[in-house]
């Protein structure tokens, strides 16, 4: 079932075996593949790639490819920098964007220490550990992301404002604009790589796109998101535009979120579903949501990891809400409440398997491996400790006054990256889930980003102060 969602899945590296390797080697020969890209993800969520010639691949299967980990963000310090990237043949995929021969293929890698044990710096391993903890409790974790991003005409690097690729709005269907062609080509390419696309439409802001990936286990989804980002950028370039997953490129338009639907299964049974209860939500489901809420603030530095992420959360959500900007600023849940951080979607009668919750804080610039690991850990904590779910919020929480929100016990998400980091630093949940290595690196790296940002004189200040002071 899960294993057959295309070539991307691999829950552990051990599943590979001779036949699959042979298949890869034979395909390389038959399809005249000259390069194989070995992919992995650094701690900040950037896709990294080592290209090897097919001749080196056989050895790579046996021993992995050694590389200098200190060159990769968050992997290793100089003196312990020997690391091994071991390709997972079950993720073999020919890259579709260079139609003409000779072609290129890719495989995802697991990162190993020199002794062959998994590296704690590998975000994939972070997620695998979290999934293992889930399966120890009897749960499988499925996710389904709705990824938003912008298509831009240009990508200025000097800090000036980019130009969106078009000027239409939500669900507009102007037959000629670039977005149409873009989406058609992108979907074809994704599906040729075994990534199923559920739905796509134009989002609320000029140039904004949304593509939903189909339900899969969390590790496959995270791999798919990494592939997805690259494919989008590639297709955009071929169409003469640029794709960006920056959370909030325009002050006046909604940002790019990555709302993700989560569900837990116990065997074949959806653990969130219970017929007859409120919203058909089981006790497990309620505790899971309670966990997501209780730990939302301390995991925000990962789910929303950039200085810019907080512009999406606080940058006029109440104004853009009606226009499809759905960034939650406050920690609460609701049923079809677009301002809530966790939404319990409408139950579809007869579809007990589809019970799920939607987390809306995530943005498109997150590292999906780390973010999904933390969401799962927060939810599991809720289940294990039996957290009580606070009452849901029916109102538009942006419309409430501060005092009203306080009275209802609704806390805000962190105001900025600095605040988020301070909360994360005190979180045992985050430290244990990420592992100490990633936890420590992430804090140091992001502190630095925050400090660089704080010391920067912005256009805002110049505009406000220069004329009058």
């Amino acid at each position: 079932m899960v294993r057959e969602t295309g070539g991307l899945t691999s829950k552990d590296g051990k599943r590979k075996m001779d036949k699959q390797q042979e298949f890869v080697l034979r395909t390389l020969e038959e399809r005249d593949i000259r390069f194989v890209r070995l992919w992995f993800t650094d701690v900040l969520g950037f896709l990294k790639s080592v290209a090897v010639a097919p001749a080196e691949l056989e050895q790579a299967f046996d021993e992995g490819i050694g590389f200098d980990g200190s060159a990769i963000e968050g992997f290793a310090r100089v003196y312990e920098s020997d690391m091994i990237a071991k390709p997972d043949p079950s993720t073999f995929q020919i890259l579709p964007w260079r139609a003409e021969a000779p072609g290129t293929a890719r495989m995802f890698c697991d990162i190993l220490m020199p002794d062959g044990s998994p590296s704690f710096a590998d975000p994939r391993y972070v997620l695998k550990r979290a999934l293992t903890r889930g399966s120890d409790l009897g749960f499988t974790f499925y996710t389904h992301p709705e990824i938003e991003f912008f298509l831009l005409k240009d990508k200025p690097l000097d800090g000036t404002r980019p130009t969106p690729a078009d000027n239409s709005g939500y669900f507009d269907h102007t037959p000629t604009h670039v977005g149409q062609d873009f989406r058609r080509q992108a979907i074809t390419m994704l599906e040729s790589m075994g990534i199923s696309v559920e739905f796509s439409h134009h989002e609320g802001a000029p140039g904004q796109q949304e593509i939903d990936l189909r339900y899969a286990d969390a590790l496959s989804t995270a791999d798919n998101i990494m592939t997805f980002r690259l494919v989008m950028k590639q297709v955009a370039l071929e169409q003469g535009v640029h794709a960006t997953f920056m959370p909030k490129p325009f002050s006046e338009h909604p940002g790019s979120g990555m709302h993700t639907h989560l569900s837990l299964f116990e065997g074949d049974r959806n653990a969130f579903y219970e017929s007859g209860s409120e919203y058909q939500l089981s006790k497990v489901g309620r505790s899971f949501i309670a966990g997501l809420l209780k730990h939302a603030a301390e995991i925000a530095a990962v789910t929303n990891q950039w200085v810019n992420s907080y512009k999406r959360i606080w940058g006029g959500s109440e104004r853009t809400a009606g226009a499809g900007g759905e960034a939650p600023s406050y920690i609460c849940w609701g049923h079809n409440n677009r301002s809530a951080l966790v939404r319990v979607p409408m139950y579809k009668p007869g579809k007990t398997g589809s019970a799920r919750v939607e987390v809306r804080s995530l943005d498109s610039g997150t590292n999906p491996y780390l973010a999904y690991a933390l969401l799962l850990a927060a939810g599991l904590k809720g289940i294990e400790e039996g957290y009580e779910l606070p009452p849901g919020a029916d109102d538009d929480v942006w419309a409430l006054s501060d005092a009203e929100r306080r009275a209802m016990g609704i806390e805000p998400l962190p105001q900025n990256l600095g605040e988020a980091l301070t909360l994360m630093e005190r979180s045992e949940l985050v430290a244990e889930t990420l592992g100490e290595h990633v936890f420590d690196f992430f804090l140091r790296n992001k502190r630095q980003e925050w400090e660089e940002y704080r010391s920067e004189v912005t256009a805002f200040e110049l505009r406000k102060s220069l004329p009058v002071l």
């Binding site: 294993r3 003196y79 002794d115 100490e436 420590d440």
Partner: protein, 1000 residues
């Protein structure tokens, strides 16, 4: 027995093994049984059963259940007249309450036991199929199944069939039952049946033709469309048939259930489709299957349904099985599976587990399967699915020793028989040995243990379990020795290629070298070789369990070359239980201990049990000092005296290291020490004692050499830092201060000159190159540091501390303790410094600020460039210095008021601070844990690398060895680092609050 005290029947019954003769007497009292009451033949027959009381009760009930007088008489007459029926019927009734109940529900079924002929004695599948042929629904199938089971049980308890035959018959009956159930399912759904071909493949014990009385029957289904049918439809039809088949067997009806049919060994387990096509199976195994799934396939055997399809399945998959051993991590996977099985048994039950516990049946089955997979690729004779057959083939081919195979065969048969008899009683699926006396008695008697069944059963069980527990040694290692030793000509031996394969599988990196060492150690006819041949299988197992098996074996060869001719050495290893295991641990745990040992191999003697054991216990400072001073006294010159002292020191270092390793790893006799703090304290205390005694001896030797009995001054050595705190590590220098005082009438200058000469002579002699490790003395904590005089008078210290003393000096003095030399002078020094280190009213704000600044500066300046602060044990985040400065600040501030804080030891001071309420219990525990862990890592680095280091080594094998020392299994190095970072991060957060005063 005194005649006349009881009725003669009573005593007879007692003699025949009845436990409740009165009840039996009452049962036999009715008129109907009159002919039986005094029938010695019948009583003998009852007495021969496992449980005469139960057998008699069963018989009486069975007679009463007969329909009408005629039937009753027929039964009774047959029992009295026909020996075969008598033995079988009573045997079954005495062994199985469940089958007794069946007979009473179906009173005519007893005839199944009366009627069979010699040719029926070893029935096969066809006979059982005939026995089940009349069954037309699940209920009648159950009745027919039990009737067949009755005859199997009868042959079993009467000894007509042995264990292997019984197990095979049970598998055949299961086969016939699956066929009958499939026929019922097909009859119920003829349309489905017409669409598909369905084959049932037996797995597990049924597939291996070695089934238990009650156990899940493991199956896999293969389905294909009949020609022309749509595959999807056909598979859905086949799935319906298969699940109906499973229901027919598993469902509980008025007649109970037969056994659960378990299809979870199929591809993707519970989540996978119940029926797959052959090509889908093949694709799965080629692409996704894990090691254990191949191991399971060893037993696959088509049993029911479409014969051609079943055979095609086995033919297609068998080749894959034999390549499983080429998969990476194969052995690791298999061993992991085994460990997980043990870990999942509830602790309370592990001792009573026949199947899964240590020394249980699963052990034998796993080991045999493992060897089949390793060697079966090249040798097709090893491919039987039946455990005992495979074991026999392994012995035949020389892959395991014949005698060992025989012993294992016996043990396996015994344990399986126990299991059978336990299950037979109530026909329950259980592998737990019951605790009830009566149950144990019945089982013991059923296995022929008549005199004292309970005790004998327990004894036999333990004996066989221990044979199985020593299994790895026997199966895996001993054949390696036979391969190189070339004794016993004619017996099949492991080939060199096979031996190398096996060594690699066991973790040896250089199998060729390992074989050479083995050959050198085990060849020949000398007594040494003979003893080593017995020992090596055990040692090889221990080495394979360490991070560096090659080094362990090489080191053993070195020790053996050095000591092999010494009679006590071989005796030690052979006779003293713990010695061999201890030696194996010590030799394979790193460099330090073997290095110390190679310099004087006699120290191996410390690893033995000695006089009542305890040779690895630290000797204590007074003892050591006495020994060293005596050795110095016997020496001719000072140089020789120090040489002798250093020799003692080396031996004691070895003792400490060995005790540390043995305590950390644990051995068969004693599990690993769980209290990490105790391990650290023991090492720190022992090393500090050794150093103090060595200094005392060296001082005596130097003084005697230059001045005879008395120096012109009194002279004392003050231990500082870790030395003063009883916390020395293996590689630590000794931090000290030297203090002297001119004797009355001696010129201060002359006294001072003498004292300085003593110091430089001591330092020189303690580091003269020799076979013994040098002891470096560091006096840099003295007043004015490196620019100050090496020795001062007490008065000079007093003047200095009164006028100049700096904050950090008071802090350093917290660790000062007199360790050697003039005790009275040492005590006066301590009295002198007490007011400095425990200042009345504690520290002022300025002083606290100064200490904090100093520490903060040290953190940024002293950390080596490029070092990872999260892993630096000394200066890193939450490392030793963080914890120690925090504790020392508390001591400086509160030592004057809290006597408990006046100690040189970090952990003791921390505990005192906690007791005094200066730090919460939780914070104290966090700091203590971090300090202990960092110290453990430092000790580990020294033990593993033979060189001191402040952080984890980067070499993979060394890192692995550190992990083993700290209790992390292979492949868990990452977890160890993660745990270290977590523990120290928490400690740092306590330090931030307590030491730096950050808001919590």
């Amino acid at each position: 027995m005194a005649p006349g005290r009881r009725s003669s029947t009573f005593t007879r019954l007692l003699r025949h093994g009845f436990t409740d003769p009165s009840a039996a007497e009452r049962l036999l009292d009715s008129a109907e049984f009159a002919p039986m009451r005094d029938d010695p033949v019948l009583l003998d027959a009852l007495g021969a059963t496992a449980d005469p009381d139960l057998a008699l009760l069963g018989l009486v009930r069975l007679v009463e259940a007969q329909d009408g007088r005629t039937a009753r008489h027929e039964l009774l007459d047959t029992v009295i007249a026909a020996k075969p029926l008598r033995d079988r019927l009573l045997g079954v009734l005495g062994a199985s309450a469940a089958l007794g109940d069946h007979l009473i529900r179906h009173p005519r079924d007893w005839q199944a036991l009366a009627m069979y002929e010699p040719r029926d004695l070893h029935p096969g599948v066809e006979e059982f199929e005939r026995g089940l042929a009349q069954a037309t629904d699940p209920v009648s199938l159950r009745v027919a199944y039990r009737r067949c089971l009755l005859s199997i049980a009868a042959r079993d308890v009467c000894g007509t069939t042995d264990l292997a035959e019984t197990a095979a018959e049970l598998a055949d009956l299961a086969t016939a039952t699956l066929r009958a159930a499939l026929a019922l399912a097909r009859t119920a759904a003829p349309d489905d049946a017409a669409l598909c071909r369905l084959a049932v493949i037996a797995m597990g014990k049924c597939g291996g033709h070695e089934l238990n009385y009650v156990s899940d029957v493991d199956v896999i289904f293969v389905g294909e469309a009949v020609d022309g049918a749509d595959e999807g439809k056909a598979l859905r039809a086949a799935t319906r048939l298969a699940s109906h088949l499973m229901r027919i067997c598993s469902e509980t009806t008025v007649e109970g259930s037969i056994w659960p049919v378990d299809a979870n060994l199929r591809p993707e387990g519970r989540n996978g489709p119940l029926v797959r096509t052959l090509s889908s199976h093949l694709a799965y195994y080629q692409r996704w299957a894990k090691t254990w799934e191949f191991q399971a396939l060893l037993k696959a055997r088509p049993v029911a349904g479409d014969v051609l399809l079943g055979e095609a399945y086995v033919a297609a998959l068998a080749p894959l099985v034999w390549h499983a051993a080429e998969r990476e991590n194969f052995i690791v996977d298999v061993q992991k599976m085994r460990r997980r099985v043990i870990e999942n048994i509830p602790v309370a039950e592990v001792e009573r587990e026949l199947k899964l516990g240590p020394g249980g049946l699963r052990d034998v089955e796993f080991a045999v399967q493992l060897l089949q997979l390793v060697h079966g690729r090249a040798d097709t004779s090893l491919r039987s699915g039946t455990t005992l057959d495979a074991l026999g083939a392994l012995a035949e081919g020389g892959y395991v020793g014949r005698a060992d195979a025989q012993q294992l065969d016996d043990a396996y048969r015994f344990l399986r028989s126990m299991e059978h008899r336990i299950q037979l009683f109530r026909l329950r699926r259980t592998h737990l040995v019951p605790e009830d006396e009566a149950d144990l008695r019945r089982i013991g008697r059923s296995l022929g243990l008549r005199t004292d069944p309970v005790a004998e059963l327990n004894r036999e069980w333990k004996r066989h379990a221990s044979v199985v527990r020593r299994l790895h040694e026997k199966l895996f290692y001993r054949p390696l020795l036979d391969a190189v030793a070339q004794l016993a000509p004619g017996e099949a031996r492991l080939s060199t290629v096979a031996a190398r394969e096996r060594l690699v599988a066991l973790g040896y990196a250089d199998p060729a070298a390992a074989l050479r060492h083995l050959e050198a150690l085990a060849s020949g006819v000398s007594r040494k070789a003979a003893i080593q041949r017995t020992l090596l299988p055990v040692l090889l197992g221990w080495f394979a369990d360490s991070a560096d098996p090659d080094a362990g074996l090489l080191n053993f060869r070195k020790v053996s070359d050095a000591l092999g001719r010494t009679p006590w050495y071989l005796r030690l290893l052979r006779d003293e239980g713990a010695a061999a295991g201890n030696l194996a641990r010590v030799l394979s745990a790193g460099r330090l201990a073997p290095d110390l040992l190679m310099r004087a191999p006699e120290a191996v003697a410390l690893l033995g049990d000695g006089d009542g054991g305890g040779q690895l216990e630290p000797r204590g400072r007074a003892h050591l000092e006495q020994e060293i001073l005596a050795a110095v006294g016997r020496a001719d010159t000072g140089e020789q005296g120090v040489y002798a002292a250093r020799g003692v020191r080396r031996r004691e270092l070895f003792r400490t290291a060995a005790a540390d390793i043995v305590g950390s790893y644990g051995t068969e006799q004693s599990p690993a020490e769980a209290d990490q703090g105790a391990l650290v304290d023991r090492v720190g205390g022992a090393l500090s004692d050794i150093t103090a005694a060595t200094l005392a001896g060296t001082l005596r030797a130097v003084v005697r050499d230059g001045w005879g009995d008395t120096l012109p001054c009194r002279f004392a050595i003050i231990g500082m830092g870790r030395f003063g705190g009883h916390e020395l590590g293996y590689g630590s220098d000794a931090d000290v201060l030297f203090v002297h005082e001119p004797r009355e009438g001696v010129d201060e200058h002359e006294a001072s000159k003498a004292a300085n000469t003593v110091v430089s002579e001591m330092r020189r002699l303690l580091q003269v190159p020799s076979a013994d490790p040098p002891l470096l003395i560091d006096a840099d904590l003295r007043p004015e540091g490196k620019s100050g005089p090496m020795v001062r008078t007490l008065t000079s210290y007093e003047a200095y501390y009164r006028r100049w003393s700096l904050g950090w000096e008071s802090q350093a003095l917290l660790r000062a303790e007199a360790v050697a030399g003039d005790a009275e002078l040492g005590q006066r020094f301590i009295d002198l410094i007490d007011p400095l280190r425990y200042p009345a009213e504690g520290l002022g704000d300025d002083a606290v600020r100064e200490i904090r600044r100093l520490k903060a500066r040290m953190e940024s300046e002293r950390m080596p460039r490029g070092a990872d602060p999260t892993l630096h044990t000394k200066l890193g985040r939450g490392g030793l210095s963080d914890v120690e400065w925090t504790v020392q600040l508390l001591q400086l501030q509160h030592g004057w008021a809290e006597p408990g804080l006046r100690t040189t030891r970090t952990r003791e001071a921390l505990a005192a601070a906690c007791a005094a309420g200066l730090i919460s219990g939780e914070d104290a525990a966090i700091l203590d844990e971090a300090w202990v862990l960092a110290t453990r890592v430092r000790n580990a680095v020294m033990l593993v690398r033979g060189r001191a280091g402040d952080t984890f080594p980067s070499d993979g094998r060394e890192l692995g060895a550190i992990g083993r020392y700290l209790g992390y299994g292979p492949g868990h190095v990452g977890d160890m680092i993660d745990a270290y970072r977590r523990t120290t991060r928490r400690a740092r957060s306590v330090v931030d609050t307590l030491f730096y005063g950050a808001a919590g």
